[in-house]
């Protein structure tokens, strides 16, 4: 596979480390009244779609960017690659 890094261009998948669902960016609030239930869902529950999947990849053998890669789990087609930091900001994690 080849991941089109937003800053560095196309890079071989061997340079990256996979983490998982990009939903890991949406970390719950530790002070929420149901924080334990929320963290349980955050830690253990994952969707397993046959199709588009937004997932986190880390450019470990490169510039150390975390990326959000939108990959079709059926065809491996990659339709979008974003810097995870931009996604995190857009998801309201700037505080």
């Amino acid at each position: 596979m080849i991941i089109n890094h937003p800053l560095l261009g196309p890079r071989d998948v061997a340079e990256f480390v996979y983490l998982g669902d990009a939903a890991l960016i949406d970390r719950p609030d530790w002070q929420a009244p149901d924080a334990q239930a929320q963290f349980h869902a955050y830690g253990y529950l994952r969707d397993n779609p046959a199709g588009a999947h937004r997932e986190l990849w880390y450019h470990e053998q490169g510039d150390r960017s975390w990326l959000v890669v939108t990959r079709d789990t059926v065809t491996h087609e990659i339709s979008k690659v974003e810097l995870a930091r931009d996604v995190a900001r857009a998801r309201g994690r700037s505080k």
């Binding site: 596979m1 960016i25 530790w30 065809t75 994690r93």
Partner: protein, 982 residues
């Protein structure tokens, strides 16, 4: 032996002879021969024995699809089993032996299997070896194992080297037959970056095997011209002897180049190179493979595919005999008759399953229309054929043509599913091809020469146009569309004898029928039940006939039955090539500590820790075993001073206004409150509340921390920190850099550590206990101005420091410390003594932090802050993780002090039976404590904190030990911590 079967002409170099050995018999051939063609030239038709029945077999094809002619190549360590004689280039001194026989090739003792054939039908293992059950392990399995398999491994290390490489191109053309050459010429002339790969040593594909003309020129001649033109282009890389074996995601292709297989010696060059080819577009021009027809005793030596027979005659100038018969269901078989006749071979019969007039007039050849071959005679070489009408025709060679299958394999490596084409009686590429790939020529069902040339050019033009390159291909040569009518005729139904579908796996028509009768009706089940289509040839010649017979039995059409899925590799790839240079000590990278050289010079023995080689102990003269050295290092450190290279621990430099807040998020305890110049122990959790890592963090400045991780987790902790920084806290002002390799770090531990360091650290730095107490840190200089960092931290439990210097000074620093330490009787110590001392102090390492351990288990529950957001603190409070009766980390010592504790022992309350129901916990770490003089251990036991002084049993059924141990504090040495504060 003379080359009795050699014909005139051919693409071989007759000016020099090549001598080779087959089964220790010297033979001769010519440059340009394959082992198969040379054997045939020498009249050696019997080449091997079949897999199951040990039937005599000969060469069947002229390419990589060969099911029969598998031989062992070369000798001793270089011996390679299961090589296909049809693709082995002849070289001077080549040594080959036949395989899969007991006794000689001519008189194989296991040929007795053939007599038992009625009992050896599909699935016979499953039916026969079921009972008695006890016989399996002792009797059946050893017998089956000794009889199974084809060639033998040398059981020695592979003496050859292999390499890997990466290539990039606009257009990858797979196959250098007419379609591939046309595609490569078109793209190459247009200026595209082209890679043209072909598995053969002579590019040209069928052009080298046929007598068809292009622009009035011999096909092989035109191919040679095209190759010369392509070779002269700087933008084209022509790769012969290179098999593109797999189509992977995003235009990545795997290819195996055989660099020195055709040479007697590698001369230090890699034998094979595994290429990863990054292509923007690809043209698959892999051609087609001929398939046989199944009839009685259709497996005898001398029976070849008709197209292969033509290849041997035209390209290699050999034929299996002087009188050849042809059996065909299509027009193509007639060309074999014509070409062989033109070379002076007598054609005794042309048997065409179709009822119709003769297509060609070949003198002396009798045409039998609407007939079929029922049976053959000749155990070690065909002698005659019997037709459906009973007529017997003598021959010493039989060419069989059942039509051609497009080589769709690579189109299936992702989501492609071939489609049936009725007019070709074959599957053609279908479904979703690998993105960027198009198929041209025979692989796409364009079966004639003119069609292949034009399709290759047209498809390549479209592909490069897609990339914005203007096609300037020029004209393709004129060629004709040769007759290609075919018919669906898979096996001779009237034949009562065994008729082989898959020669390599000895699968007969009867086996396929049996599978259907027994309910294995899905094509995937058929394959697994009968083994049809498995092994080195992957059913390239057999699959379609098998499917057709299954369809016929099931009353379905072939497209209804479908085909099995082709997966990489197209042809076998040696494990050596897949490993490349990653073998032996180069299996993975290894890292040396900065003081490695000094350690080597001073008696160190090394141990692998992650990727690092670390000194495990330093042997001094007179020390007989490792324990002598380790005991000495551990006690000497506690009485004088010890020096240990601890560079391998992960070191992360953290800077920025929010560095403290960032660490508060990452660690379970708090760091923002740490004062500048101070160090604190930190515990890191996973999000699920389980302990992840631990280490010390030093605050070097207001906005500057240096964190250490365990050696094993240096990489993953850094990765986790970057995740927190970028994904969870994207606007924190904090930056990270790994400085593990930047700083060499040494632990200097023991009562004399300060005295030693005073000799090394420049005098202006006060390191007295008052100025630099326990858990202090700060910049210093050593040896007259060399920058360094000093940390007063202790893993050993002694008064101790860690001194860091830029890595390039590491080896010198180690030497200086040891030299300066001589007057204090200092010792270097390794990881074993480090381990002993940490057990004496009750510190956790990977033995305790196993990924199942909570902070509560190790008695650090209170460290997990509930006053801030941090990884893991929420889920760490789940009821199961903070149970009162959870296991706790405590120390153990044997009641009988002479006993040796066993790590992994389980604890049983005295009086209870030793079983899992009564399990109280387990021993994690043990060591002999030279300071206490007996064996000590750490371990987890239920409510251990409340059980000090209790005697329990430590049981290890694996070691057969059962001893009484006393629960004690895990702090065996200096429990009050007075020494480290001293």
């Amino acid at each position: 032996m003379n080359q009795i079967n050699r014909l005139p002409g051919g693409l071989i170099d007759r000016t020099e002879e090549v001598k080779f050995q087959f089964n220790d018999k010297w033979m001769r051939g010519y440059p340009g021969d394959t082992l198969a063609s040379a054997l045939m030239a020498n009249g050696q038709l019997l080449v091997g024995r079949s897999f199951k029945y040990h039937r005599p077999r000969g060469v069947f094809t002229a390419g990589s699809e060969e099911p029969n002619a598998l031989v062992q190549l070369r000798r001793r360590a270089a011996q390679e089993p299961n090589t296909r004689a049809t693709v082995v280039e002849l070289f001077e001194g080549l040594y080959a032996t036949s395989q899969n026989h007991r006794g000689s090739l001519e008189h194989d003792l296991l040929a007795v299997n053939d007599l038992f054939a009625p009992f050896l039908s599909a699935g016979f293992y499953y039916k026969t070896f079921m009972w008695p059950k006890a016989f399996w392990e002792k009797l059946y399995e050893p017998i089956i194992r000794s009889a199974a398999g084809l060639g033998r491994l040398s059981m020695q290390e592979d003496p050859d080297s292999y390499d890997k490489g990466f290539l990039h191109c606009d257009l990858l053309v797979i196959g250098a037959g007419p379609a591939g050459l046309a595609a490569a010429l078109t793209a190459g002339r247009s200026g595209a970056r082209v890679i043209l790969a072909d598995e053969d040593f002579r590019p040209g594909g069928r052009l080298n095997a046929e007598t068809l003309e292009l622009d009035g020129m011999a096909g092989h001649h035109w191919a040679a011209q095209a190759v010369a033109e392509l070779s002269a282009m700087g933008n084209v890389r022509l790769m012969a002897r290179t098999t593109v074996y797999g189509a992977y995601d995003h235009g990545v292709y795997g290819a195996l180049e055989r660099c020195t297989d055709h040479l007697a010696q590698s001369d230090g060059k890699p034998r094979q190179v595994l290429w990863r080819i990054y292509s923007k577009r690809a043209v698959l021009a892999a051609g087609a493979t001929e398939r046989p027809i199944a009839f009685g005793n259709n497996d005898r030596p001398g029976i070849l595919l008709a197209g292969a027979m033509r290849t041997y005659a035209n390209r290699y100038a050999v034929a299996p005999g002087k009188q050849v018969a042809v059996f065909t269901n299509n027009d193509d078989g007639w060309r074999t008759a014509a070409d062989l006749y033109a070379k002076g071979v007598e054609i005794t019969a042309i048997v065409d399953s179709r009822d119709g007039p003769a297509l060609l007039d070949i003198p002396g050849a009798r045409h039998y229309g609407g007939q079929a071959v029922m049976d053959t005679v000749g155990r070690k070489g065909i002698k005659s054929i019997t037709l459906t009408d009973g007529k017997v025709i003598p021959c010493d060679g039989l060419a069989v043509s059942g039509g051609w299958n497009p080589n769709v394999h690579l189109t299936c490596h992702q989501r492609g599913r071939p489609e049936w084409r009725e007019d070709l009686c074959a599957f053609v590429p279908g479904g979703d091809l690998p993105p960027g790939m198009v198929v041209a020529g025979a692989a796409n069902g364009a079966m004639t020469l003119a069609a292949a040339l034009s399709e290759g050019a047209v498809k390549a033009s479209a592909q490069i146009q897609d990339l914005g390159i203007t096609p300037k291909g020029g004209d393709m040569p004129q060629a004709e569309d040769e007759p290609r009518e075919t018919s669906a005729f898979w096996h001779v139904k009237a034949s009562k004898k065994r008729a082989w579908v898959d020669l390599q796996n000895d699968v007969t028509v009867k086996d396929v029928k049996l599978a259907n009768t027994e309910g294995f009706r899905s094509v995937e089940l058929l394959k697994r039940y009968t083994t049809m289509g498995m092994a080195t040839d992957q059913g390239k010649t057999s699959n379609i006939a098998g499917l057709a017979i299954l369809a016929e039995q099931a009353g379905k059409t072939i497209p209804e039955v479908g085909t099995t899925i082709f997966r990489p590799p197209y042809t076998p790839v040696p494990l050596g090539a897949l490993a490349g240079r990653a073998r032996g000590t180069d299996f993975r990278p290894y890292r040396l500590t900065p003081s490695h050289k000094w350690a080597e010079e001073n008696g160190a023995s090394f141990v692998t820790v992650g990727n690092w080689l670390r000194a495990e102990w330093y042997t001094r003269p007179g020390e007989k075993g490792w324990r002598d050295s380790v005991d000495r290092e551990a006690s000497q450190t506690r009485t004088t001073v010890g020096i240990c290279d601890v560079t391998t621990l992960g070191k992360i430099d953290i800077q920025g206004k929010d560095a403290g807040a960032f660490l508060d998020m990452v660690y379970a305890n708090t760091f923002s409150t740490l004062k500048v110049g101070r160090v604190r122990y930190g515990l890191m959790l996973r999000e699920d509340g389980i302990c992840y890592d631990d280490g010390t963090t030093a605050r070097m400045g207001e906005n500057h921390y240096v964190t250490t991780t365990t050696t094993a987790n240096a990489v993953v902790v850094f990765r986790r920190m970057e995740f927190v920084r970028q994904c969870l806290c994207p606007d924190m002002d904090v930056h990270l850099i790994s400085i593990t390799d930047g700083w060499a770090q040494f632990a200097v531990a023991g009562p004399k550590s300060r005295d030693l360091l005073r000799k090394v650290i420049d005098a202006e730095h006060d390191i007295s206990n008052e100025a630099f107490p326990f858990m202090s840190c700060g910049p210093v200089t050593v040896c007259g101005g060399t920058p360094a960092r000093l940390f007063r931290i202790s893993f050993s439990g002694e008064m101790a420091f860690e001194l860091a210097v830029p890595a390039r000074y590491g080896n010198a620093m180690m030497a200086v410390l040891n030299e300066a330490g001589k007057e204090f009787d200092a010792t270097p110590y390794g990881t074993e003594a480090l381990g002993v001392m940490r057990i004496e102090k009750g510190h956790c390492t990977g033995n305790e932090l196993t990924g199942q351990t909570t902070a509560h288990n190790i008695g650090l529950g209170k460290m997990v802050s509930q006053k801030k957001a941090c990884i893991g603190n929420v889920l760490s409070q789940r009821p199961e993780m903070i149970r009162d009766d959870a296991v706790r980390l405590v120390g153990f010592r044997p009641v009988d002090r002479s006993r040796k504790l066993i790590a992994g022992s389980h604890f049983i309350t005295k009086g209870d039976a030793a079983n899992m129901a009564n399990d109280q916990g387990w021993m994690t770490s043990v060591a002999y404590s030279p300071n206490l003089g007996y064996s000590i251990g750490l371990g987890f036991i239920k409510q251990g904190q409340d059980r000090m002084g209790e005697i329990v049993r430590a049981v290890s059924p694996i070691h057969g030990t059962d001893m009484e141990v006393e629960i004690v504090s895990p702090h065996f040495v200096d429990p009050e911590g007075e020494r480290l504060r001293g």
